[in-house]
């Protein structure tokens, strides 16, 4: 089977995304279909109380069980285990991970696929920090914290990617498997750990600039505890990778 027949699995962990899930699925179907690429979308819902799973079931009826696969879990169990859970039945040779809250736009997926094929990469990561990547909806304070934290990460960890906390990535399936098994952190530090370990293991990593549309910034997102957790995670990775 040549690269042209490659299939792409999108892992979509969800929690309370009843409103966004139909949109993200619609967009994924649109861009994958336009790119004439085989795909499936695995929705991993962690027992959302708002009816996300019911929305997913409706989408399954519309688009078919081959395209929309449901792998729900009883409660919120974390990202790493969500990926492992989703990977178990994934049929794609390449796995795309992304957020389901519409901050990541599926239009960048064909570009990731093209870059991966062109350079025979193991990982393609979206970046908000280089090229024409960027963010919509951030004020000065948020930008400063983001750039400052990223700079510190670059200096201390030499991670091999400009955007280490980003979670919009394409992985070769066995690469994702190996990395998820060796990473222990939680949340966005988990994403940092994934890319740092990938660099240490010598995997080939490429980047595609993406636009990140932050619509939830108004509510919480970057308080003191987040900064503390980030620092702890950074120091942990500094000492262990």
């Amino acid at each position: 089977m040549g690269e042209d027949d490659a299939m792409y699995t999108v892992l979509l962990p969800t929690y309370n995304e009843r409103e966004n899930l139909p949109i993200i699925v619609w967009l994924l179907v649109k861009y994958f279909t336009d790119a004439k690429v085989e795909f499936e979308i695995i929705v991993i819902d962690d027992g959302s109380p708002d009816g996300t799973l019911e929305a997913a079931e409706q989408l399954q009826r519309i688009y078919g069980e081959e395209r929309i696969v449901l792998r729900p879990r009883a409660k919120k169990l974390g990202l790493g285990t969500a990926y492992i859970h989703g990977l178990k039945h994934a049929r794609g040779q390449f796995i795309i991970i992304m957020d389901a809250d519409l901050s990541h736009h599926p239009k960048f997926i064909p570009r990731m696929i093209a870059l991966q094929q062109r350079d025979n990469l193991d990982i393609v990561t979206g970046t908000r920090y280089s090229g024409d990547g960027g963010v919509s909806g951030w004020d000065l304070r948020r930008k400063l914290i983001s750039r400052g934290a990223n700079y510190l990460t670059q200096v201390l960890l030499q991670p091999g990617a400009s955007d280490v906390t980003g979670s919009f990535r394409l992985y070769r399936r066995d690469v994702l498997r190996r990395l998820v098994d060796s990473c222990v952190s939680k949340g966005y530090v988990f994403q940092m750990e994934m890319i740092v370990r990938a660099t240490r293991l010598g995997y080939r990593i490429g980047e595609v600039p993406i636009s990140f549309v932050d619509r939830v910034y108004g509510e919480s997102k970057l308080g003191g505890s987040e900064i503390v957790n980030f620092t702890k995670g950074l120091l942990y990775l500094f000492a262990t990778t």
């Binding site: 519409l102 930008k143 400063l144 750039r147 636009s211 549309v213």
Partner: protein
């Protein structure tokens, strides 16, 4: 990018599984070793005695230079951070389009 290649070279001399912490300690030892020798008068030479003041200051100068460099880099990156307004607008349009198309296909949106 001499400093980057030098760093990579130093790293390649060491064990592949060495952590960043260990590499930084190694680098610190390389930089501070001679400095400590000057500080504790272990190394005697006319040149060292003449320039002692300057030599003792050089790690601090390095740190200060790095600090200034970092502030400049971060300031520039914050200033040039792309604001993707068009992306936000496009998303709004596509959300409408998606809702209409899905409703046609039989999706029942819950009014909230």
């Amino acid at each position: 990018m001499i400093h980057k290649n030098l760093f990579v070279y130093i790293c390649s001399l060491t064990d592949a599984t060495m952590t960043m912490l260990m590499r930084w300690l190694f680098l610190a030892a390389v930089i501070l070793g001679p400095w400590m020798a000057v500080l504790t008068n272990r190394y005697q030479s006319p040149w060292v005695d003449q320039n002692r003041h300057t030599l003792l200051l050089y790690p601090f100068a390095l740190i200060a230079a790095f600090g200034v460099y970092s502030v400049c880099v971060i300031a520039w990156r914050v200033y040039s951070f792309n604001d993707c307004q068009e992306a936000a607008d496009e998303l709004q349009k596509q959300i409408k389009e998606a809702k209409e198309d899905l409703a046609k296909k039989g999706f029942k949106f819950v009014k909230s």
